[in-house]
């Protein structure tokens, strides 16, 4: 069942989501193909079709707390199967961006932390550096020992690189990150 709170937390998100994603939310007619195909819907309390409906009905910032926002694996099955051609995955991406901008990402905070750790290594080295990213991520989560039992075998087999990547055009990547940060500042 979809519940819309009477007292909304902030203005409706529909317009902001449509601006970021370029999607017209109102053409959704609730066939629920997106939710049927969604691989994480069985694990989440909110489903893609419900998010679409809630947006249409004027839901506010409370929608940014939906667990689907950060449990979505970006597999894009929803977008591929939508009979109306709605890019549902782009709607979820837009909700992530709004969640970050409006500080609503604490609930499922590990995904943004992972994304930041990943992009930081790209910004520094021009290419992603897995061990650097994993270390930064683990320090951020405070769970240093998770998964570490796999590292000795991975290192021994050469399944993960110990040293940071070299040879990437770091100058161009730094330019891109600079432009992104300036652009982000202009939007906020």
């Amino acid at each position: 069942m979809i519940t819309i709170k009477n007292k909304k937390n902030g203005a409706g998100l529909k317009q902001a989501v449509e601006e970021i994603s370029g999607v017209d939310v109102s053409v959704c007619f609730q066939c629920k193909k997106c939710s049927s195909g969604c691989p994480v819907a069985k694990l989440t309390t909110s489903r893609p079709s419900e998010i679409m409906r809630q947006l249409h009905l004027g839901a506010g910032n409370e929608l940014l707390e939906s667990d689907l926002v950060w449990m979505c694996a970006s597999c894009e099955t929803c977008s591929a199967r939508c009979p109306m051609g709605i890019d549902v995955a782009a709607v979820i991406d837009a909700l992530r961006k709004l969640a970050l901008a409006r500080g609503a990402s604490k609930q499922e905070g590990n995904v943004p932390l992972f994304n930041r750790a990943f992009l930081k290594t790209v910004e520094i080295f021009g290419r992603s550096y897995e061990i650097g990213m994993i270390t930064a991520y683990k320090i951020g989560t405070g769970k240093l020992m998770n998964d570490t039992e796999k590292f000795p075998a991975m290192l021994k087999k050469g399944k993960i690189a110990l040293l940071p990547p070299r040879g990437g055009d770091r100058k161009t990547v730094k330019r891109i990150f600079k432009a992104y940060k300036q652009n982000k500042g202009a939007k906020a």
Binding site: I20, P39, V40, L43, W70, M71, A73, S74, C75, E76, T77, S79, A80, G85, D87, A89, D93, R96, K97, L100, N110, V111, L113, F114, N115, F118, L119, V122, G126, R127, S128, Y129, E130, I134, Y137, N146, D147, K150, A153, M154, K157, G158, K159, I160, A161, P165, G167, G168, D169, R170, T172, V173, R175, I176, F177, A179, Y180, N183, K184
Partner: protein, 287 residues
């Protein structure tokens, strides 16, 4: 046949086996691969979950390098492939995105570099008859579950790769190599992708059902063409076993590793030693 080969970041770390086998297979089939000098990260899932301009500019930095080489880009990593093609599409379709990229890169790019996946090169440019002819050691009926995952086929309107719901590129290759490609329903199911560290529980759940399905159709191995899929399905089998009490030991091999074996290349030159679940049953069968 000459292509600008974009290896992607995983090729230097968790997908060295993919990289190694890609180079070995290309050499054996007379495909000339040239790496664009100074190639950089495509931004992957973290990029597009964070910012649209970032998600388009990072691939574009590589596409412009390939444009200067006057070659088509060839990609093996499904995630990089998807990001490159989406970036091309976004730049060609939206003038404001093109403008943003121009400012970020300090050069204009129109989105016109042709991006091909290795499977497209193998099937369309080399062709199955030539591959069949080059096979020295056939797969001898090896039962292969071909797994495509998400980003080889989605978004279908932009990637236009094979059939988005029932792709057969890997299956056709496996058949040409003398293997048995299995009918199974998990070809384009998601493995959890980039959630491997941040939501391991989700990845164990999703890879668990894929591995379970492969086991139930009697697969000797799962063939993949994406580093994220390979690592998730390979590395997480011990977590799946721990959680469910099962004892799955299904090798997750790159299609290039299988093809390399068939072309007579030694397993050591194809990165077989790097797999977490050993592929000894596969190596035993293809001798």
């Amino acid at each position: 046949m000459r292509y600008a080969y974009y290896p992607g970041c995983s090729a230097e770390s968790t997908a060295r086996d993919m990289h190694q086998s890609t180079l070995a297979v290309a050499k054996a089939l007379g495909i000339d691969l040239v790496e664009p000098k100074g190639w950089t990260c495509c931004g992957a899932t973290a990029g597009h979950q964070t910012d649209r301009l970032l998600a388009v500019s990072l691939p574009a930095a590589n596409l412009t390098k390939v444009q200067d080489m006057k070659l088509d880009m060839m990609v093996n990593c499904a995630a990089c492939y998807s990001r490159m093609k989406v970036a091309n599409h976004e730049i060609a379709a939206h003038s404001n995105i093109r403008k943003g990229v121009r400012e970020a890169l300090d050069r204009d790019y129109d989105g016109s570099v042709k991006v091909r996946h290795l499977l497209e090169v193998l099937l369309e440019d080399v062709g199955l008859p030539a591959i069949k002819q080059a096979v020295k050691r056939p797969l001898n009926g090896l039962k292969v579950a071909c797994y495509y995952g998400c980003l080889l086929v989605r978004p279908p309107k932009i990637l236009k790769f094979d059939d988005a719901e029932n792709p057969t590129s890997l299956d056709r290759l496996v058949t040409a190599m003398g293997g048995t490609s299995l009918e199974w329903p998990s070809k384009v199911e998601c493995c959890g992708g980039g959630l491997s560290l941040s939501r391991t529980d989700v990845v164990v759940e999703l890879t668990g059902s894929i591995i379970d399905m492969a086991a139930s159709v009697g697969a000797d191995c799962i063939a993949v063409s994406c580093p994220m899929c390979q690592v998730n399905l390979d590395l997480r089998q011990q977590d799946i076993n721990k959680q469910t009490g099962k004892n799955y030991q299904i090798p997750i091999v790159y299609i290039t590793q299988l093809l390399g074996l068939c072309l007579g290349i030694g397993p050591g030159d194809l990165g077989f030693d790097k797999l977490m679940v050993p592929a000894s049953a596969v190596l035993e069968k293809v001798k």
